[in-house]
Amino acid sequence: MKKLLTLTALAILIAFVGCEKEVSLETPDVSYTLADQGGTLALEWDEIADADGYYIYADGVKIDSVNTTSYNATTPAALYEVSAYAGDQESGKDQIDCGAVETPSIIVYGSGDPAPDHPSGFGFTSSGSATTYSISDQSNWPLIDYWIHSVSADEQEFASPHQGGQNGFNDEVNTTKNSGLTDYDAAKICDAPGGYTAPTTIVSNAVYYFWIDPDNDGWGSSNDHFGKIQVVGVNGYAVTLKIAYQPIAGLRWCVVK
């Protein structure tokens, strides 16, 4: 009788263990909007069945967990990820790539440089890389996001394309702002609009924030872009730059991937 009871208890236990459902968590499908004039990445996703909550990762580090289906990311990072969890189970992670695209080095020359093969303009390709353009070639004008204006042989400044030539290289009103920093990596988020100028005097080693505002309509998430520029060196008219461009329109973060 005692044996029978033991066996019954064992059978019941096995049945319970066997009946415990293996939870299969789907990966959240994360989308985003921008808030705080591009200072905040507002993440949101649909609820995942059986999830107890959601983990938030920034650059691979778990920074938070929530049981809502949205999260306001205010810490600049190059990569945000969201996963669902239930107990000790975790789903796959959906990623939002918010890293800035870096151009390690380009040389742009002040407009006073007489050498015809020394480009004075630069702009960004669709991938976010910076490339130089000669302002002497009118076919380049639509591509120019900034150019370097020579006040004198030893004073250069970032200028907006609308300030070039008699009627502007193009209509974009693009500005820059000295961040007050010299540590390129320490510049993680561009200042909100306010205090951005054109032209802006170029100082060696300084880090500048830039704001591309093609429509000159204030901050917007349709076609505005932000980033940072370090002036690596100035040698006469030659200005060597290191640039990071944020591909997400309107986002002010400039953490490099």
């Binding site: 407009s111 004075s120 302002i135």
Partner: protein, 90 residues
């Protein structure tokens, strides 16, 4: 007789010419030389001053070119706006 008279006149003429005193050679005294030297020194100083003034003028002119002409976008960029761009802030 006529020949004799002619010869006599020639002889007298030659004598007169021959008796003309030699023209005095140009002799420069030490005082005159010193004066000229002083004048040259003064002129040299003036040239130096002129050179300095010219250098200064050239420097100013170059600075002007840099500021108001060379700083224009390269042609045919539309002529540029000259040395100063109209600043904007936003």
């Amino acid at each position: 007789m006529k020949k004799l008279a002619t010869l006599l006149i020639i002889a007298i003429a030659l004598a007169v010419i021959g008796c003309q005193p030699q023209q005095q050679q140009n002799v420069v005294t030490t005082e005159q030389l010193d004066a000229v030297k002083a004048e040259i020194s003064a002129l040299k100083a003036q040239v130096t001053n002129l050179q300095t003034a010219l250098d200064s003028l050239t420097a100013n002119y170059n600075a002007h070119l840099d500021k108001y002409h060379k700083s224009m976008p390269k042609p045919p960029s539309g002529g540029g706006t000259g040395g100063g761009l109209k600043p904007i802030q936003k």
